[in-house]
């Protein structure tokens, strides 16, 4: 098989357009404070206005998918943590769900609630990181430190149970890897009691602040049609008025038993995305409280069973993580590990939209829009 020469092009180098005013080509990244990792966006700017945008990814590529081909099903899970290192626990769930579906494992009731509570708790942590780094993008330094102060406490609680802070390797097929810390539920509730009082502070500093509103209202408008057609998911999609949430639409674990509604906003701008995330923090607090109330305090936390998957079986399972739909496609050849596992990471898909959103915007707004999409480059490049 030979590759056509036309497809073997070199890296895209934009040539500046010379007209009435000269276009300047600015390399936003790969080393740049606002790209949240190593992302390169080649921008054509006319003064402060962006005329073209070409994103380049792959600087963090590790090819997990190739490595996973030579690992057993259980050995894959630590690699998942390292995709989206901000919400490691959440990454593990769709894979576990897919393997459980394929192997026909039943998850014990208690494990379901532990997983759901952990999942939502990780959403809080992830949104905290977003609040902090996003406000740093917009030039406010204080929310970053507030957010990391609270994230630190939250990570401590996760650490007490899983032993890891960002890379916990905790969920597994059939439940969770080990029992929760004896004080786990009490820790959670104590933290939430404290945290609930702090969230309004974040709101005052972000979505309610006049300067923030001046920077965000009407900026980076994403229409409903464009969002759906581009497969945008998570808060970005819901801020454009589409009530799509896999926790509701394809419920997994303990979500069918919990009482909640999908948060949407119709504006579709940067402010709406921020507001949806702030509201989701409140929603997660509520969901964890429900889990703590409903969860059985004793019982098995892991259904032990052999993972034997027939050749030719395949499954695509997705879960609604803090950034959107994280999907895993597993194809089995009957061996001890996945023949092929493909990860559909939300940031990878959400990032595709940026050329559409950037063109015609101010340079400062480019940063605001990029931050509002909430990408993690470890997940984009995998």
């Amino acid at each position: 098989m030979s590759i056509p020469a036309a497809l073997m092009t070199g890296p895209t180098v934009l040539e500046p357009v010379v007209g009435k005013t000269d276009e300047m080509i600015v390399n936003l990244g790969p080393q740049h404070p606002a790209t949240h990792g190593v992302l390169q966006i080649v921008l054509g700017v006319d003064g402060e206005r962006v005329t073209r945008a070409v994103p380049h990814i792959g600087f963090l590529h590790r090819n997990h998918e190739k490595i996973e081909e030579s690992r057993s099903y259980a050995q894959v899970i630590p690699y998942l943590d390292r995709m989206d290192y901000v919400s490691g626990l959440q990454n593990e769930l769709p894979y576990c769900l897919a393997v459980e579906d394929l192997a026909g494992l039943e998850v014990p009731e208690r494990a379901k609630y532990i997983r759901t509570a952990m999942f939502e708790f990780n959403r809080i942590i992830s949104h905290l990181v977003w609040v902090g780094t996003y406000m740093l993008d917009l030039g406010a330094i204080t929310p970053f430190l507030y957010a990391f102060r609270d994230r630190e406490m939250a990570l401590d609680i996760i650490e007490r149970t899983t032993g890891g802070r960002m890379l916990p390797n905790y969920f597994t097929f059939g439940g969770v890897r080990r029992d929760v810390h004896p004080k786990f539920w009490q820790d959670l509730l104590d933290f939430l009691d404290y945290f609930e009082k702090v969230v309004p502070e974040y709101e005052t500093l972000t979505v309610d602040a006049p300067v923030f509103q001046a920077r965000s209202v009407g900026v980076g408008l994403l229409s409903q049609e464009l969002a759906v057609n581009h497969g945008i998911s998570g808060p970005n999609l819901r801020a454009s008025g589409v009530a799509h949430d896999l926790r509701k639409d394809q419920p997994y674990d303990a979500y069918p038993e919990l009482d909640f509604s999908v948060i949407t906003r119709d504006e579709g701008d940067v402010w709406a995305r921020s507001k949806v995330r702030m509201d989701e923090i409140y929603q997660s607090i509520d969901l964890i409280r429900q889990c703590a109330e409903l969860a059985p305090r004793s019982g098995p936390y892991l259904a032990r069973g052999r993972v034997k998957i027939e050749a030719g079986e395949q499954r695509y399972r997705a879960a609604e993580i803090s950034r959107g739909q994280l999907g895993v496609y597993i194809h089995s050849d009957g061996g001890t590990g996945p023949y092929r596992s493909k990860h559909r990471s939300p940031s990878f898909v959400n990032l595709q939209i940026i050329p559409d959103l950037f063109i015609g915007q101010k340079f400062s707004d480019v940063i605001a829009i990029l931050g509002s999409i909430d990408i993690v480059l470890g997940e984009v490049d995998r």
């Binding site: 300047m24 402060e48 917009l138 030039g139």
Partner: protein, 426 residues
Amino acid sequence: MALSSDKRSQLKRIPIPEDRHFKPQLVGYNPKTPNRLAEVLAHSLLYFVFVGLLLLIYGVLPWLFKLPGSPLASGGSFTTTGAVLYGILAAVLSFLVAAVAALILILVLRKYLGLVQNRYGPMHNGPAGAFQTIADAVKMVAKEDFVPGKADALVFTLAPLMVFVSAFLLLTIIPFAPGWVLANLNVGLLFIVAAGTIGAYGVLVGGWSINNKFGLLGGLRAAAQLVSYEIPLSISLLTVAVWVGSLNLMDIVEAQKLWWTAIPLLISAAVYLIASLAEIKMTPFDLPEAESELVAGFNTEYSGMRFGFFFVAEFAELFLLPAIAVVLFFGGYYQPLAGFWDFADVLRGLGAEGSTLNQFGGLLASAYGMLWFLLKTALLSYLVIWVRATLPRFRDDQLMELCWKVLIPLSLIGLAVAVILRLVFK
């Protein structure tokens, strides 16, 4: 080796400890049991140096020069040699004053930001981190003097000096106490505008000379911002001139012995404070060096002491622009309501006329005025830092809108108010 399941069940189960995770300990400084007195003393250390330098320049040096039998002075004023010598010494010392003011502000900014942001700030170098900025300065001086290959070397070298000199020039006309001013210009207000503008050029050519796209964008942003905001700033200065009837800063302070200018000219004072935030490029107006957008803006390629000049100039301005605000609007070196009763008058009245005690009392009165001046300036500087810790950044068009659509009309209204008030009351 894998254990069989019944063997595994025979193993003793290790209980999960209550606190499974490892808690790191802070080394060298335990914020849980701080020595408050030591902390305050440590942080006051640089402040004492600063006050001491000011006293030396304005109080002790002239007194030393005028000692009986001195060849440098005759009949209460300097000889030519004495004046030149005093001028050189004062210039050197006031350079130190600017540098120390910047050092203090950097330390205070970091400590105060730490307070606002629920953290400790510098705490490892010296008692409670008091020597952190000194260590930073040493590091900066020790760094390689580096010029990027494609930079315009001459302009690259001159730009930080222009910014620094502009900030330093402003220091010469600040009256710290009655008579305590290096250059008592009768066109002081014009000098403020003139000296301040040099800094804008420095930033612009600095951003251009480094041949970096982020630097260019930052430099252009800075030029647009600084030039625009000079208009409301200058109109506010003009308002004061109209109200007081003089361009001399000493005269302006003297006119505020009873009532601060800020009371009748509230609008102008507010406009001046906001515009001066933009002039010193502080959040929410820090677009020229917007870290998350332009990496470091106009000083992207600067390092070592060249960057240090920008840095020191920025913090010197953080002291100087509030200081000018205090001179123009908040009564300068007078204590509040000094027109009714002034403690400085009490100090000046000590002893018989011409006696040593009387001379000492005069020095004390000046020092008392200086302390009031520094207190007010410090409060305004804190205000600036507080704003910086709280607000996000404006966008460039919003910045311009704020200037041209809000501040300039407001400053013109302020000017009209001043004219009317002057016609009515004076």
